[in-house]
């Protein structure tokens, strides 16, 4: 903060108002914003003039046109007669699903690597260190190609698929799994199961609160049985539900029926997760090592086991150190999904800034859409992680 010069008993003689620091800095800021606005206005006007003179189409009207291409991996429905806008939504859904699954898997692997890294066992800790050095130091794009061709090359073609059992087949066309076909009763049963789970968790929570307050424990087993077994079973029989399996079967070039995890999806997921997991591992290690050793010793003195010390003493405190840098890694992962376009995963860059851009020629609009998407996702991740951070810092131990 600048120090105001016109305060105090020995106030200097009055100076012109614009030399006062607060007013001056406000003036500078207003001036800066005005200049920026002018610059943006100039760039926009110039762009429009250039586009116009070259007769290049502009505006977002193209989003209503028929796309006319197909997308193999789609986490929201799309077919070639849909519009570019629907292609955009499919690209958004694909990217978000890849990012969310990637973040989950990267966190899981990263946690294991981080714990291994601080393990007193020399071999385990060395192995984790080797993992981190390898995956952190090789460019992600190369890793994606590595996974993609590591999956494609050794696997046989669809006609020589490896049968895994239970109706699952593995080939270089992907992993084909049987798909359960649920009727409305079976779907209701799933809802009943979820409701039962929430119910049992709530009851268990109250029982814990009760024990903490009074020291008396209450039995909870019956709530779990009601929630997870009785309620779903009752729903199943009451609705006369049934379930069939769609089993993949070789037909012509490929398997039909069932569901499939395509090599592009698998390679993108593994590539992104293993890469970010290396950074997550280091963050977890730093977080654990950042908790004062006295805490561990105190817990040991109280007779806690190693597992308990980690779970109850170290990790809750380490989380405070871990979450802020973790946010950055999650954002990296979400943005790095763009590289998956190189291995034919249909995400934003591939669909919007690739095919749509070239087919419509509207580079400015499609790149702007892609930028808006990544910005939104990054800010969203930051908001969610800040919420968690607020939760852990607020909790007192």
């Amino acid at each position: 903060m600048p120090v105001s010069r016109d305060l105090g008993p020995m106030a200097p003689p009055r100076t012109p108002f614009w030399t006062r620091s607060r007013i001056r800095s406000a003036l500078i800021q207003v001036g800066f914003v005005a200049l920026l606005a002018l610059l943006i206005q100039f760039l926009l006007a110039n762009t429009m003039a250039n586009l116009d003179r070259q007769g290049i189409a502009s505006g977002f009207g193209f989003l209503e046109n028929r796309a006319g291409f197909d997308i193999a991996i789609r986490f929201s429905p799309f077919e070639r007669n849909d519009t570019y806008l629907q292609a955009l939504w499919t690209a958004v859904a694909n990217t978000v699903v890849l990012a969310v699954l990637g973040i989950g898997l990267a966190s899981l692997i990263g946690l294991v690597i981080g714990l291994a890294r601080v393990s007193p066992n020399w071999l385990i800790s060395r192995l984790a260190a080797v993992y981190i050095e390898i995956f952190r130091n090789i460019p992600l794009l190369l890793q994606l190609f590595f996974w993609y061709f590591a999956i494609l090359r050794p696997l046989p073609g669809p006609r020589q698929s490896i049968e895994i059992g239970g109706g699952a087949f593995l080939s270089n066309r992907g992993l084909y799994l049987p798909k359960p076909l649920l009727d409305s009763g079976a779907q209701l049963t799933l809802v009943a199961f979820a409701t039962g789970l929430i119910f049992a968790l709530t009851m268990a929570h109250f029982a814990r609160r009760h024990r903490a307050a009074t020291g008396h424990s209450r039995p909870v087993l019956q709530w779990w049985i009601i929630g997870l077994v009785a309620l779903p079973l009752a729903t199943w029989f009451a609705t006369n539900a049934s379930m069939a399996l769609s089993v993949p079967a070789l037909e012509g070039f490929n398997f039909q029926g069932g569901m499939v995890i395509l090599p592009e999806m698998l390679a993108a997921l593994l590539g992104l997760s293993f890469y970010i997991a290396a950074a997550v591992g280091e963050i977890v290690r730093a977080g654990i090592e950042g908790v004062d050793h006295g805490q561990t010793e105190a817990a040991q003195a109280l007779g806690h086991s190693r597992g308990q010390i980690m779970r109850l003493v170290v990790i809750p405190q380490a989380l405070r150190i871990i979450i802020p840098p973790l946010t950055t890694q999650y954002q990296s992962l979400a943005k790095n999904t763009s590289l998956a376009s190189a291995i034919a995963f249909p995400e934003i860059i591939s669909i919007v800034a690739g095919t749509t851009m070239t087919q419509t020629g509207q580079a400015l609009e499609t790149i702007a859409l892609a930028m808006a998407f990544y910005l939104t996702v990054s800010l969203l991740i930051a908001a969610i992680m800040n919420f968690f951070n607020w939760r852990v810092t607020r909790r007192s131990f």
């Binding site: 760039l43 926009l44 110039n46 762009t47 003039a49 250039n50 586009l51 003179r53 070259q54 007769g55 290049i56 189409a57 006319g68 291409f69 197909d70 997308i71 193999a72 070639r80 794009l141 061709f149 494609l152 090359r153 073609g157 270089n172 066309r173 037909e251 012509g252 070039f253 490929n254 039909q256 090599p263 592009e264 763009s338 590289l339 376009s341 190189a342 291995i343 034919a344 249909p346 860059i349 591939s350 800034a353 690739g354 095919t355 851009m357 070239t358 087919q359 419509t360 020629g361 580079a363 400015l364 790149i367």
Partner: protein, 339 residues
């Protein structure tokens, strides 16, 4: 890589939003001293860099001919390798002066994308390649197949239209770069590789075992491949257009790289006029000196020579003249008169 797309696009954003994209391409090229030409990043026979970074190929010769006409030096070209998704942005933004790159002329590109196409250098069509071992001999047997295809191409749209029209399904695997498409097909990710027939012939050469693959007989589209420039500079468009015509006209007149100096003394006034002989107005009309046609032809040869040198039956690509024969031989290549 995608990064290139983003960088190119970012550059385009800057260029489109910055100073006006010039309508004086000729002056700029002269001032700069070299031509910026967009080409394919390595397609055998069409545009391929050698170990020393020297580009050669059918598409590259067009750049060289224009550079010879405009700058009096066929080597005064800087080549920018561009993927399918990068090519139009690079041209629109002024990063390149012309695009000579297995690019199909379509209504959409000619209008909404703001491009002008020079005459067709290569009449092509979309074909399909499969493994010999699959025992497929027609596209109609491809129902349910997995197809490797290049993103941002006419190919991916034709593919969807063709399967739709014939009530068939397929699984697309779409890459930005042609070499990624190739690698995936070569690794057996796809049953089928589809692209322009010329491109398939070129790509087959670099597969691990070229003899394993066969081309299906059907051609499902028209792919007239032509050089392109931006809208808004008529003189530059004329120069590129008539340089291409000059190469075709030279073949019709029998002017070759070797005999061009004798042809200067030809009895045929059409030939001497075109080559800038005494009293010829060909330079004045187009805004260059009188020897521009002479230089273009003597640098790269006539159309037939270019074809034979890079893609013809005696090259590894082994492409027949077919539709690309002169109109006098029953083909489609027909230059407008140099009058």
């Amino acid at each position: 890589m995608k990064l290139c797309t983003i960088l190119t696009s970012a550059a385009a954003l800057m260029a489109l939003s910055g100073a006006a994209v010039s309508a004086q391409t000729l002056e700029e090229v002269r001032e700069r001293g070299y031509l910026n030409c967009g080409v394919s990043p390595g397609v055998a026979g069409f545009s391929n860099p050698d170990d020393a970074g020297n580009w050669s190929g059918f598409d590259v010769e067009v750049c060289r001919a224009v550079a010879a006409a405009v700058l009096e030096d066929p080597d005064a070209v800087r080549y920018t390798p561009l993927s399918n998704t990068e090519r139009f942005t690079a041209l629109q933004s002024g990063e390149i002066d012309m695009l000579s790159r297995t690019t199909t002329r379509t209504l959409n590109r000619d209008t909404a994308l703001g491009l002008n196409f020079a005459p067709v250098m290569f009449y092509d069509g979309q074909g399909f390649m499969v493994r010999d071992s699959m025992d497929v001999d027609s596209v109609s047997q491809l129902n349910g197949a997995t197809v490797c295809v290049s993103a941002g191409s006419t190919t991916e749209l034709n593919l969807a239209d063709y399967f739709e029209a014939n009530g068939m399904t397929y699984n697309p695997v779409r890459f930005d770069r042609a070499d990624e498409v190739l690698a995936a097909y070569d690794a057996n990710r796809c049953d089928v590789y589809t692209s322009d027939r010329s491109g398939l012939a070129a790509r087959r050469l670099v597969m691990s075992d070229p003899s394993e693959h066969v081309m299906l007989p059907e051609t499902i589209s028209k792919e007239p491949l032509a050089p392109a420039v931006r809208h808004g500079d008529d003189q530059w468009f004329d120069i590129v257009t008539w340089t291409v015509y000059a190469l075709i006209e030279a073949e019709e007149f029998g002017i070759t790289q070797d005999n061009i100096d004798e042809m200067l003394a030809s009895e045929n006034p059409n030939i001497t006029r075109m080559l800038g002989g005494e009293g010829s107005p060909v330079g004045e009309w187009i805004g260059l000196d009188n020897q521009w046609v002479y230089r273009a032809i003597s640098s790269v040869g006539n159309y037939g020579e270019i074809f034979e040198r890079h893609v013809g039956p005696d090259t590894p690509l082994q492409i027949e003249r077919g539709m690309n024969a002169l109109h006098t031989d029953g083909g489609l290549q027909y230059a407008m008169p140099f009058k």
